[in-house]
Amino acid sequence: MELGLMQRRLEDYTKSLFMEGLLDAQFLQLQQLQDESNPGFVGEVVSLFFDDSEKLLNELTSAMDQQIVDFRKVDSYVHQFKGSSSSIGAQRIKNVCILFRNYIEEQNIEACLRCLQQVKQEYYHVKSKLETLFRLEQQVLAAGGSIPAIEVTSF
């Protein structure tokens, strides 16, 4: 495929992620930090995020599965998850985490379980989208092109 086309496809795809609200400006910050001295920065951070999140989600699931739910533990996991997702700019995940924390405060198990489900869904969604994004980027790089920087003001 032609480089320009690939680049445009990458650009559109990235923009769509922002439009959908999956990612926010923080993700752009990360992209800005990626330069010659630190070429794989975004990839590193995102894979860290994936690993961390898998672990967190497992812990969360098992914690919510208990007979007597330890809300403090659950709260700390959700806080962690909120922290990591906001650090990479996963906006939707962050919002669900905020909602989740409210329900934890209310000790509403039903709602918490729903939130957990939602968080998982959002996470897997973001994960697959980001993986697609990286694949597109790799294609562009392999074809010898460079990844275009997205303007912050374009949306």
């Binding site: 910050q29 001295s37 630190n38 951070v45 700390s76 909120k82 990591s84 906001s86 700019g89």
Partner: protein, 743 residues
Amino acid sequence: MMESCNCFEPHWSADELLMKYQYISDFFIALAYFSIPLELIYFVKKSSVFPYRWVLVQFGAFIVLCGATHLINLWTFSMHTRTVEVVMTIAKVLTAVVSCATALMLVHIIPDLLSVKTRELFLKNKAAELDREMGLIRTQEETGRHVRMLTHEIRSTLDRHTILKTTLVELGRTLALEECALWMPTRTGLELQLSYTLHQQNPVGYTVPIHLPVINQVFGINRAVKISPNSPVARIRPVAGKYIPGEVVAVRVPLLHLSNFQINDWPELSTKRYALMVLMLPSDSARQWHVHELELVEVVADQVAVALSHAAILEESMRARDLLMEQNVALDLARREAETAICARNDFLAVMNHEMRTPMHAIIALSSLLQETELTPEQRLMVETIMKSSNLLATLINDVLDLSRLEDGSLQLDDGTFNLHALFREVVNLIKPVASVKKLLLALNLAPDLPEYAVGDEKRLMQVILNIIGNAVKFSKDGSISVTAFVAKAEYLRDVKAPEFFPVPSDTHFYMRVQVKDSGSGISPQDLPKLFTTFAQNQAKSASRNSGGSGLGLAICKRFVNLMDGHIWVESKGLGKGCIATFIVKLGIPEQLKETKFLVMPKIPSSHVCSHFSGLKVLVMDENSVSRAVTKGLLLHLGCDVATVCSSSECLQAVSQEHRVVFMDVYVPGIDGYEMAVQIHKKFAKPHERPLIVALTGHADKVTKENCTGAGMDGVILKPVSLEKMRMALSELLERGLIFEAI
């Protein structure tokens, strides 16, 4: 043979009849003698216990032999052979032997038999006695059961009337009484009133005086006392017909009060009131009061006393509870009214505030516009004064609303670095025109050791000084006003009302003492305490001239001074003798005075921003790997030399003098960020060795910020951090040593 047989010659002729009778008698004797042993044997065989069988055999033998003798005698009436004689002799001999033996044995046997008889009698008596005692015990047990039932009945209710009624009913039933009555003392305590009876439906309300001898006798002893059926307390029923009234017993029932229950004091000693219980046995029954019945009555009387006291306590506590509920309701109402009042006042203040602000703003706006135009120097001076006064007035208006906030303590000072000397000069310049109009001399005296710059709330300090000097001017008709300001060394205040206030200067703070002396109308001693109360104006003064003022001035000043950890007071030698107003406030010593800056509050970010912090050694502590990586990336991009740790213990170990800044996430389980900061402060005693500490947090509300500053942190940054934000934060940090606002 007939001659040597020695037999009796039977005299047949005349004594034939006699012989015949003898013959018959002998026959019957023999018969009897033979049948008696048979009977004996028969009956002994029947009875199982007969200890003397051998005696019986002997007796039997004796009787049989006697019988045999008599039987053989039958043959001796006529001619008999020698054989018969021999048999007769043998029989007689045997009989003799046996009878002697028996006679001898009887000597031993008969006493024994007699004693058996006595023992039998004894045992029978004993058995009878035991029976009687059993009967008694059973009766007592019955009584005990009755008592238990009774007390159970009595104690199962907490209602006075039920208790007393039940007592009478149960007692009546248990003891089969004819009548049972309870006399209670009246309110006055001088009479006993018939309150409850068993059979009469409506007690007539008889009363008897309480000091009758019989009553005193009963009250004086704690046992049941038999009294005469004719005494007034016992004569409840109309005596009719030939009654032989049954015996009457009376017992006292102590009426216990709550106050009777003292720890080492038994109620008998302290109770004064008794009720009287009178019990009457049925008339014409010849029944008597038994001891156990009296005991029962005494026990019941005690139980009744206890039950009554419980009922009384319950009544008390119910009453107390009702009272408390009423009070609660009243308090609730009062609280709601107070809240409404406060709301109303706040609304009023807000509205007034708004109404006052609008013209104020017009003045300020227009004066500033005027400043822009062409003005002569005098005009410019005047316009500047107008501006300054209107600014002050605007602040005052703010403070009128703030007063409510001051009162509930939510107002906070706006600290900043400012020029102290300049402030005083400005105040004096503001007042000078007014003073000169009144021909008052205004003198300002600043001590040489008073620092030029200080940290504090400039506007409010100016307001305080202005207010006090303004008052001095207002209430002086002539003379002079002197203002002195100097650094207060550790000294006692001369105001006796606050002997504990002991200003101690430190490395970072000093206490400034300002004294305003005027030679005006003074204040009388009784008005001195009221000076600082809100809205309280001195009557004499307000009458003298248009003093204006809301009466808020000194109250606000006092509150501001208190907020500045200070103290304010006024002294006056009396009316017409002027007064001295003094206040002490705590001001901060500004750090690292740089020559060029600090005239203005450094809220404006400095124009010079380092864009490349090459080699700056920083330490990042964040438990979350993702945000740690992001922060690290940010700092790396800015050129810093970044080290990362993921726990507080690692951080404490890793932090060193080389690190200029430590970024820490404050939400860390285990030692939290605040504690960490304190630890870091401890680790590096000298301030310039210590790295700057910046908190990274997901929410930066006031509380978090306060906690951070309280723990000794130099700044707070809100996550997620953008590149620009980090850049600016770092440059501000390095320039000023702290971040003011980095949100």
